[in-house]
Amino acid sequence: MRFGKILSIVALSTLGATFAFQSQTADAHRTSSSLTTMIWVEADQSFEITHRLHLHDVQQALRNVIADPSTTVFDIKGQAELILYMAGTFMAESPQGPIILDPIGAEVEGDYVYVYQEARLKALPTAVSITDLTFHDIYSEQENQVNLEYKNQVTSVVFNASENTAKVVKLTKKP
C-alpha cells in the first residue's frame, strides 16, 4: 500500500476562531515532517544547522498561515518570511547559556526547501537543549526530526505536534 495525504482547513473555535491547516494522517504516506541536521564544526567552533522541509508543506503554510496568499518560497521575500517564522519555532540553548542562531538563508531544491542557520560559540557546550516546533501550529501530525552530529556520531530527537518540551542532547568531548 502507498499512503496519500490530504490537506483540509481546520477551524478551531470555542469563543473565538483561528485557522490553521491540518493534514489527515490516519493513512498518510507522507506525513508532514521535517529533518534538521545540526552539525558541530570543530574548526569553526560553530553549529551548522540545515532544516529540510517539504516544499508542499512550506507553500501551504506560507500562503495560509505565516504570510499572505501571494507568498511563495520561490522568491526571497517568501524565504525571509519562512526564516523569521522558524526563528520562533526552532530554538537551542545550553547549560553554558543561550545559543544564538543566526539566519543564513534558504533555497529550494526539488521537493524540498532548505533553511540555513548558524551558531558560533566560544566552545563546545556540554549539552544542547533543542526545541523544534516548526509547523506544529499548522499541521496536527507534523513530526520534526533533529539529527545532532558531533564527532561523526548522530543523536536523533523527534518532536511530534503533541509535545512542546525541549529535548536535551549531551555532548561529551572525546579524547
Binding site: R2, L12, G16
Partner: protein, 828 residues
C-alpha cells in the same frame, strides 16, 4: 631496508622497501576490537527457525509443505442511495494442514471502523498548540476530526452478520472478536477434508475521505457523484499456517494481511449506468456492455496503445443521466487470495492487450478506470504504467499470472493493491482561472510510481503470499525495490526518491538516525514506517544486486525465490536462504547487518603509503635514496636565509682545515662495508628469491599499502577506484569478506605498474555510504550545503537586508495592532 608507516597525510607518501622487506613481519598501525569481524560474519543460526518438513534448509517449500484453500461464491448488491452493500457468500474451505480443526477463523476487517473496535477505543489525539506564543492548554479539534466524528455519529459502521449457516441450512455457532469471527464447526474438520458454509452480511460503506481506509466511497460534491471502491469488504478466511497457526491478530489499520488462495465467482449488482472493475474476468459482457463497447474491447486486445472502451464523453453523459435501473456484473477469478471491485457512473475505461511469452497467460488486458477529474494525465500514463510494470516484474520474477491487470483512480493520493486490481491516487489540479486541468512534475511521477508500486503488489504479495501482518518489509520492501527497478527502466533520471534518482543517496539520513528499529521488526511496532519497511529494504536489495552479488547472480536467485514461492506463503528465512542457496554467495553477514541491526554504512580511506622495491645494491639504491630524500626533505629555511644574508659558515673560514671525510660524503655515499654487506645478502638468497628479486627490479612496480576504516559498523564491499599519474583509472570491487576478522580497520596491498595519485571509495555511490568526505585519499575539499550557500555573498547580503526590513515591519505592525491571540473558552 626501510619499512615505515606514516600517519594519515594529505598526500600519498613514498617509502622504500627492499627485497628483504617481503620477509619482514608487518606492523599493524591500528586495529579494531578483537573479534569484531567474527561478530559481523557470524552465521544466522538461532535467528532463523529450524528447517523442517514444511520449509527446508535451502529456503524452498519442504516435502510436506501445505497451505489451506478457500473458494468463494458471492452475491453482492450496492445500494447507492444508502451507501450500503448487502452480500451473501458460500465458502468452500479445505483443510490441507496435518491438524484437525474444530473451529475456523474469519476476518471482518470492516469492524475496525466500528465504535467499539480495538482500533477506535485505543485511538489517541494530538493535544495543545505548542507554538511558543500561544502555548498553553490549547487543545484542538480539527475539521478532519469533526468530519470523522460526524460520519461515525450519522452512520453505524462495521459488519452486520445476518446469518452463518451450514450447507444444509442449519445455523453455525459463531463468536465475533473485534475484527475476527470464530465459527465453531459441528464436527471436527480432519486433515484433507473440505467443508462448506455460508455467511450473509451487510454494512454501511465508509466515506473514505472522512474515516480513512483502503476502501469506501469518494464523493464529488460539485455534481453529487461517487466512486465506490470495495476492499476487504466480505468475510474472508483467516490464514492458517505452519509457522503461526491461525493468523488472527486483530486488524489495527497498519499490518495488512495474508490470505488463502482460492477461486472466486462474484456477482455484483449495481446501478445500470455504472461501470464495474473487479478482480478476475468479466463473464457476462453481453449483459452489461454495449455492442460498441465489446467491439472496442476486442480491438484493444491487439492494440499497442490504450483504446477507450468508455470515452470521456460517454462517462460525462453517464454522470449526467444517473439512471436508476440495475445490472449484475459477474466476475470469475481463479487462484487468487482476495477480491476487490470498484463501481461508478463516472468511469472512463481504457484497455490495451499486453502480450507475454507465457503459455498459460499469453494475453493480459491492461486496463484503467478513472473519472474525468483525472484527465488528462490518466489516459496518457495509467495503462502504459500497468504494462511497463508487467514487463519489468515478469523479467525479475515470473510471467504475470492473471488475465487482467487494472488501475483504478479512487482517491487523490496513495494506493492499495488486490489481485488483478489496484486503487491509485494522483490527479491533476483544476485552477480557478484556467479551463484545463494541469499537473505538476510531482503529480506525474507520483502517478506513474504509485501504479508501478500497486500493480507490482499483484506479484508480491498477491502471488508470492507473504504475511504483512507480521513482516511488512517482505512485500512492501521487496516491492519498493522492484518498483525502483521499473522506474529506472521507465525513463532515465526518474525522480524516484525525494526527487532524486539514486535511492542510496537518500536512505543514508534515515540509516544514520538514532531512533530506528531493525527491518526485522513486527509490523505494528515499527518506528518510521516508510523508511523502515519500504525504502531501507529496497536500498538493501539494490546494494545486494548492484554491488554485492552482481545482477546475474542476484537476478537468478531472486527469480528462484519468486518461482519457489509463487502461490505459496514464504517467511523471511525462506527468502534469506533461497538467495544464498541459488547464488552460492554467503549472505548471512548481509542479512545480519541490514535486516537485524540499525548499523549504517560509513567506510573511508584512512591512509595510503607508496613503496618501490629497491635492488639492495648500494651503488644503485643510494643515489636514488639521496634524490628522494632531497625531494621529501627540502633544505632548511634557516640555511637558505643564512646563505641569502651572506652568512659564511664557520668552517669555511679555515679552508679545508676543519673538513674531513664526512664533509666530502653524505649519509648516502656507498662504503665498502655497504658493498660487502650487499654481497653477503645476495649469497644468502635462495635461487627462487634471486629470481624474484631480479624480476621485481626489472618490472620496477609501485607497491601501495591502503588502510580502510569502517566507521558506520555495517560491513560492506569496497568499490575502489585507483587513479594513476597518467590520468587513467582502475575500478575494483573488494568483497565484504575483507572485514571478516577485523570489521573496523583493514589494510590491503596493491602492486601496479603505474604510479597511483589517488584512491577513492564508492565513487558511483553504490553502497549507501553515509559520509563521502572520508572516501578519497588524498582528501578532496568538500563543503556542506550551508557553506556552499554562504559562499554566495550577494544572495546572503540580500537576505540579511530583507530580514531586517521584514522584522522591523512586523514588529511595527504588532505594536499598532496589539498582540494577536486566539481565545478559547473552557466550559469549566
Amino acid at each position: 631496508m626501510i619499512f615505515q608507516f606514516t600517519n594519515r597525510t594529505r598526500a600519498i607518501t613514498r617509502n622504500v622497501v627492499t627485497a628483504i622487506a617481503v620477509t619482514l613481519i608487518g606492523v599493524s598501525v591500528q586495529a579494531g576490537e578483537v573479534g569484531s569481524g567474527a561478530k559481523k560474519f557470524k552465521q544466522l543460526g538461532t535467528e532463523l527457525p529450524t528447517p523442517n518438513v514444511y520449509r527446508d534448509a535451502t529456503g524452498a517449500p519442504g516435502p510436506n509443505y501445505w497451505q489451506q484453500s478457500a473458494d468463494y461464491k458471492i452475491n453482492v448488491t450496492l445500494d447507492e442511495e444508502n451507501k450500503r452493500i448487502t452480500g451473501s457468500e458460500t465458502i468452500t474451505y479445505t483443510n490441507n494442514s496435518p491438524s484437525t480443526l474444530r473451529y475456523l477463523w474469519v476476518q471482518l476487517d470492516q469492524n475496525r471502523f466500528n465504535q467499539s473496535s480495538i482500533e477506535r477505543r485505543s485511538a489517541t489525539v494530538s493535544r495543545a498548540n505548542s507554538r511558543p506564543r500561544t502555548a498553553g492548554d490549547n487543545d484542538r479539534f480539527s475539521y478532519n476530526q469533526l468530519r470523522a466524528h460526524q460520519s461515525r455519529s450519522d452512520t453505524e459502521h462495521g459488519y452486520q452478520i445476518t446469518a452463518v449457516k451450514r450447507s444444509n441450512g442449519g445455523a453455525l455457532t459463531h463468536k465475533i472478536v473485534d475484527t475476527m469471527m470464530r465459527i465453531d464447526l459441528p464436527a471436527p474438520l480432519a486433515s484433507g477434508a473440505t467443508t462448506n458454509f455460508s455467511i450473509d452480511w451487510e454494512y454501511n460503506i465508509i466515506e473514505e475521505a472522512a474515516l480513512g481506509g483502503r476502501g469506501g466511497y469518494e464523493r464529488f460534491e460539485d455534481d453529487e457523484t461517487y466512486i465506490y471502491f470495495l476492499a476487504q469488504w466480505f468475510p474472508r478466511m483467516a490464514a492458517f499456517t505452519d509457522y503461526t497457526g491461525w493468523q488472527h491478530k486483530s486488524f489495527l489499520g497498519r499490518g495488512e494481511f495474508t490470505l488463502e488462495f482460492g477461486d472466486y465467482d462474484v456477482s455484483i449488482t449495481v446501478p445500470e449506468d455504472h461501470i464495474v472493475s473487479g478482480t478476475g474476468v468479466l463473464q457476462n459482457p453481453r449483459d452489461v456492455l454495449t455492442a460498441e463497447q465489446r467491439s472496442r474491447l476486442d480491438k484493444a486486445e491487439n492494440s499497442k496503445t490504450p483504446v477507450f472502451i468508455v470515452t470521456p464523453e460517454e462517462a460525462a453523459a453517464n454522470e449526467a443521466e444517473k439512471s436508476t435501473g440495475k445490472k449484475t456484473w459477474r466476475f470469475l477469478a481463479e487462484n487468487v487470495r482476495d477480491f476487490a471491485w470498484s463501481s461508478s457512473r463516472k468511469f472512463i475505461w481504457d484497455a490495451m492487450g499486453h502480450k507475454q511469452d507465457d503459455k498459460k497467460v499469453p494475453l493480459v488486458m491492461a486496463m484503467s478506470f478513472y473519472p474525468n477529474e483525472a484527465e488528462p494525465i490518466w489516459s496518457k500514463y495509467s495503462t502504459h504504467s500497468v504494462a511497463h510494470t508487467m514487463n519489468v516484474y515478469s523479467k525479475m520474477s515470473f510471467a504475470y499470472p492473471y488475465p487482467t491487470a487494472q488501475s483504478v483512480n479512487t482517491w487523490e493520493r496513495g494506493g492499495m493493491e488486490y489481485p488483478m486490481i489496484t486503487f491509485n491516487g494522483y490527479r491533476p489540479t483544476k485552477q480557478d482561472n484556467v479551463d484545463e486541468r494541469t499537473y505538476t512534475r510531482n503529480i506525474k511521477y507520483g502517478l506513474i510510481g504509485v501504479i508501478i508500486h500497486e500493480v507490482g503488489h499483484i506479484y508480491f504479495p498477491m502471488t508470492v503470499n507473504s504475511d504483512e501482518r507480521q513482516w511488512t518489509w517482505m512485500d512492501e520492501g521487496l516491492n519498493t525495490f522492484l518498483e525502483y527497478v521499473a522506474e529506472l527502466e521507465w525513463e532515465e533520471n526518474y525522480p524516484a526518491f525525494t526527487g532524486k534518482t539514486n535511492l542510496l543517496d537518500t536512505i543514508t539520513t534515515y540509516m544514520r538516525s538514532s531512533n530506528q528499529v531493525p527491518i526485522m521488526t513486527q509490523s505494528d511496532s515499527i518506528i518510521q514506517f516508510g523508511p523502515n519497511a519500504y525504502s531501507k529494504p529496497a536500498a538493501a536489495l539494490t546494494v545486494l544486486r548492484e554491488t554485492v552479488m552482481g545482477r546475474e547472480l542476484f537476478d537468478h536467485a531472486f527469480r528462484e525465490y519468486s518461482r519457489r514461492w509463487k502461490f505459496k506463503r514464504p517467511t523471511p528465512s525462506d527468502f534469506f536462504r533461497t538467495m544464498e542457496d541459488a547464488s552460492g554467495v554467503d549472505l548471512d553477514w548481509f542479512w545480519r547487518g541490514w535486516f537485524y541491526t540499525t548499523d549504517h554504512v560509513d567506510v573511508g580511506v584512512a591512509s595510503v603509503r607508496e613503496y618501490k622495491v629497491f635492488t639492495g645494491d648500494p651503488d644503485i639504491d643510494n643515489p636514488i635514496k639521496r634524490a628522494e630524500s632531497a625531494a621529501n626533505e627540502p633544505e632548511a629555511i634557516q640555511q637558505i636565509r643564512n646563505r641569502a644574508e651572506g652568512i659564511e659558515p664557520y668552517i669555511d673560514g679555515f679552508g679545508d682545515d676543519l673538513k674531513d671525510v664526512y664533509n666530502e660524503n653524505d649519509r648516502f655515499t656507498t662504503s665498502n662495508k655497504d658493498r660487502n654487506s650487499y654481497q653477503s645478502y645476495l649469497e644468502g638468497l635462495s635461487p627462487w628469491q634471486k629470481r624474484a628479486l631480479e624480476r621485481a627490479i626489472e618490472e620496477d612496480q609501485f607497491i601501495y599499502f591502503v588502510d580502510y576504516e569502517n566507521k558506520g559498523g555495517l560491513v560492506t564491499p569496497l568499490p575502489v577506484t585507483l587513479t594513476f599519474a597518467d590520468g587513467s583509472t582502475e575500478d575494483m570491487m573488494v568483497p565484504a569478506e575483507i572485514w571478516r576478522r577485523d570489521a573496523e580497520f583493514v589494510t590491503q596491498m596493491y602492486i601496479r605498474d603505474k604510479q597511483v595519485t589517488s584512491v577513492e571509495l564508492d565513487r558511483a555511490h553504490q553502497i549507501a555510504d553515509a559520509d563521502h568526505r572520508n572516501n578519497t585519499f588524498p582528501q578532496k575539499v568538500s563543503s556542506s550545503r550551508l557553506k556552499l550557500f554562504k559562499s554566495d555573498r550577494n544572495s546572503r547580503d540580500l537576505m540579511a537586508d530583507l530580514l531586517v526590513k521584514l522584522k522591523t515591519k512586523k514588529e511595527a505592525e504588532k505594536a499598532s495592532e496589539g498582540e494577536e491571540n486566539v481565545p478559547l473558552a473552557s466550559t469549566q
